[in-house]
Amino acid sequence: MRPFLITFGKELLIFLRSVMLVLVVLYSFTVDVYVAGQGVEMKPRNVTVGYVDKTGGGISQKILSRLHMPEFKPPKAFLSQKALSEAIFNKEIRVGLVFDRDFAVDYRKGRPAQLDVLLDATVASQSLITLIYLKNIVLDFTDLAMPLQIKTHKLFNQNADTHQFMALSELLSVITLLVVILAAVVFVKEKEDGTWDIMLLMPVSPKVTILAKSLSQVFIVMIGTVIAVGWVLMGAFDVPINGSFWAFVLLTFFYSFSSAGIGLFVAAVSKDVMQVAQLSIIIMMPLIFLSGAWTPIYAMHPILQKLSLLSPLRYYIEGTQSIFFRGTDFVDLWPYFGGVIVLGALLYLYGFRKIGRLF
């Protein structure tokens, strides 16, 4: 136990001695998470709308009045459809609405009234959501004969607040990136400086040294995570924790630990810090891709779905979202824990064999 604690403490001391590194880590866990949460907006905002109105007012103006800030800028009137199209081509207008003469007549007479929408779809994500917004507005003007009502509940995040979501996602990326790189660097630096050979020759099992070194980096990341959750997520963005905070801490611990295993793997196969950088990129990108961060796993190709089982990030993202937003019960979290623990164990076994022994 003593060699473990001593090595653990030594790594923390070394970390604290590098002021630059401490600053970078602190920056990543605070400013970076904050900026990502604050900055990126997936909902439509300031969408420029243009319209051509040939109905002479009434229902068309009622619809237009529903397009308001912050989602839409005040709609701009155009005289002809041609002028409107031109503005869209120059990217000055993103959504064009054309109310033709028949529109008002049809609507009054209860016939399906057709509203033409011109949409600049170069930014598909926002266009899609803009379209759904429009549909919702138009729906309110639709009065079916039957008294059907739809009551939707957006669970866990009633307002579909993207700030909270983006801040949490960024935190998860920061955790992944830092723990892999920090862990890889502490090992490869010892290899580069030649101190690793000395460690192997100490009358201490190299497994203990390896675990102490990676856990020290996990510990650094955990501290950062607690700062980020307490200060940025809860302080600045009011992210709820619907599940158990301790479940999150525990899951983060196991996840960081298995990611440190990836770092160990990277360090074991690279010669210098340069190779660590290259290899980390090549390994991390598919891992993030396969994690379901961008594409839901069920929408992937079946082969990719199988491969995604290998990405520890997959379990972590799903698990964390479950804890924060879905408030999943602790017992239902076991697949996530199982996934990260099994993957971590395999990576460490490889690391032990590759750099943790004498011949």
Partner: protein, 539 residues
């Protein structure tokens, strides 16, 4: 008017001064030696003359005066600079032939028949004619340095600046490098400024400049300099305010002892006395428990290590006996480090048998119990740069399960005995190499091992620190009775070993006691010559 004149040149870096108020003059065809320890300003002055760094003062070459790198552009076609570091200016992924082509191209050398004749001559002189297709990354250290030199010579520079071109190069290659140099200066009238860590080479120079503390402290012909220190050199005798190294005593005050002939390195010792930088006295106290060693501490039979098709160590037999200092000598790439790493288990053994402390070693498990008995100091002193000396030592002590009070006691003792007590709270990178070297040995001694493996502990360390280091090893052997295996490429250090093994290209070519080797080579004046004869025989 001399061909090259340097007046009052000072080079400053952000935090320190590189060289201060240096002046020198050189005529056509002269070889000027820059001699001094690491960090005394040799490289700074060379960089200033080559016009690659900003400086204060004036340099005049061939009537052209320059005060900055920009002004030096005018004479760069005349200059050849070979900076310090093995293969520093070479590209690992280019072949020897491509290098010559590249250097000719960037210098815009006209490639006519005369050029090809000159190129072939250089290749031949360097012994690289057969290797034009080999990648520079696969050359040995000596070949790399020779290639760097001929690349620097390719455009026939009139001012050649060579920064430690021979460090780490095997004795034979070193001899060849000097022959190339000698030829060129005779044929072309080139001025050569050469720095070196080997005092023997100073004898081949027309003039030497001694560097210390960022200043030039003495200049002149070597014989004159040696002659000047004669009054201060005595046979070994007890004295105060003096220095006793390698069986000689140096004192500024007259001693009651017969004088003896000074050697080249003695210049440094006398200089240390003069500048009152007396190195601390080395002592070694008794160890806490006795040493019990078998007669044969280590026995290797046919040890072999291959990297792909390259055989680093080819069936090497070796024995390390009780209480013996065994020197493992050879050029860079001869297989010394690989051999030690096999002994320690850092590399797998491809073939052969190894017995350590009477125990046959077949797998990593056999080594577990031996770990506490072995001490190891690796090349470049593997230390944690972010930890102070004290923290480093405490960490190693803890890892060896030494109780804290005992650890603090031992660390304090070594700090006093090995003379680094004043540096305990400094970071290794801010300390002179010599201090780092002694404290890494202290780290390897903390657990009081019975056998010590030292991999090139003296490379890059200045003469005084090297002398102290050997004094320490001698005391260790004497007081503790432990066995020591040490590798070095300073052939002169073989004198301090009990027995030496000489490796060449992964093969053992000599294995005998120092006396026997001298006996079998009656003509040899120094160890260097004995090894040269071995290297030639086995060429």
């Amino acid at each position: 008017m001399p061909q090259l004149e340097v007046r009052d040149v000072t080079v400053r870096y952000k935090k320190r001064v590189g060289i201060q108020n240096a002046s020198l003059q050189a005529e056509r065809g002269e070889i000027i030696g820059f001699i001094g320890a690491d960090g005394t300003g040799k490289s700074s002055l060379m960089h200033a003359i080559a016009g690659v760094i900003r400086f204060e003062g004036e340099i005049v070459y061939d009537g052209v005066a320059y005060h900055s790198p920009k002004e030096a552009e005018r004479i760069k076609a005349e200059i050849g600079l070979m900076p310090q570091g093995i293969g520093l200016v070479l590209y690992d992924d280019l072949t020897v032939g491509e290098h010559l082509q590249f250097f000719a191209d960037i210098r815009d050398v006209k490639q006519d028949e005369a050029f090809y004749a000159y190129r072939d001559k250089l290749l031949h002189m360097a012994g690289l004619s057969e290797f034009t297709d080999r990648l520079a990354g696969n050359l040995s250290g000596g070949m790399m340095q020779k290639l760097s030199l001929i690349c620097t010579l390719l455009h026939r520079p009139k001012l050649l600046i060579l920064d430690e071109p021979t460090t780490g190069v095997d004795p034979l290659s070193r001899l060849e490098l000097w022959e190339i140099l000698d030829n060129i200066r005779k044929e072309e009238g080139t001025i050569a400024l050469v720095s070196t860590a080997y005092m023997q080479e100073a004898a081949r120079m027309d003039k030497v400049l001694l560097f210390d503390d960022s200043k030039i402290i003495a200049k002149g012909k070597l014989e004159e300099l040696v002659h000047e220190i004669e009054p201060y050199v005595y046979e070994k005798s007890p004295c105060e305010e003096c220095l006793t190294i390698h069986g000689k005593s140096f004192s500024l005050k007259p001693l009651d002892a017969p004088h003896t002939t000074p050697s080249l390195e003695d210049i440094f010792f006398v200089n240390a006395l003069k500048s009152q930088k007396l190195p601390p006295k080395i002592e070694i106290g008794a160890r806490s428990d006795g040493t019990e060693l078998p007669e044969i501490v280590m026995e290797a039979k046919g040890l072999t290590k291959r990297f792909g098709s390259f055989v680093a160590d080819d069936h090497i037999d070796m024995q390390l006996r009780r209480g013996e200092i065994l020197g493992l000598l050879g050029a860079n790439g001869a297989g010394k480090t690989t051999f030690i790493k096999m002994l320690l288990g850092l590399y797998p053994i491809d073939e052969g048998e190894l017995t350590l402390l009477g125990r046959p070693i077949r797998s990593g498990k056999d080594r577990q119990k031996l770990k506490a008995k072995i001490g190891y100091v690796s090349q470049h002193f593997a230390l944690y740069k972010e930890l102070t000396v004290r923290e480093n030592l405490l960490y190693f002590a803890n890892m060896h399960h030494i109780p804290p009070t005992e650890a603090i006691r031992r660390i304090g003792r070594y700090a006093e005995e090995l003379g680094f007590a004043e540096y305990m709270d400094d970071f290794p990178s801010s300390l002179p190499l010599g201090v780092n070297q002694r404290f890494s040995v202290a780290a390897a001694l903390l657990h009081e091992p019975v056998v010590l493996f030292l991999d090139e502990p003296t490379s890059g360390v200045d003469a005084i620190a090297r002398a102290q280091f050997w004094e320490m090893l001698r005391l260790l052997k004497q007081k503790w009775g432990i066995s020591i295996l040490i590798t070095t490429h300073y052939m002169s250090e073989a004198e301090y070993c009990d027995r030496v093994v000489l490796l060449k290209r992964g093969k053992k070519i000599a294995d005998d006691t120092v006396e026997n080797l001298y006996k079998s080579h009656p003509d040899a004046k120094s160890f260097e010559e004995i090894f040269l004869s071995y290297y030639r025989e086995n060429a």
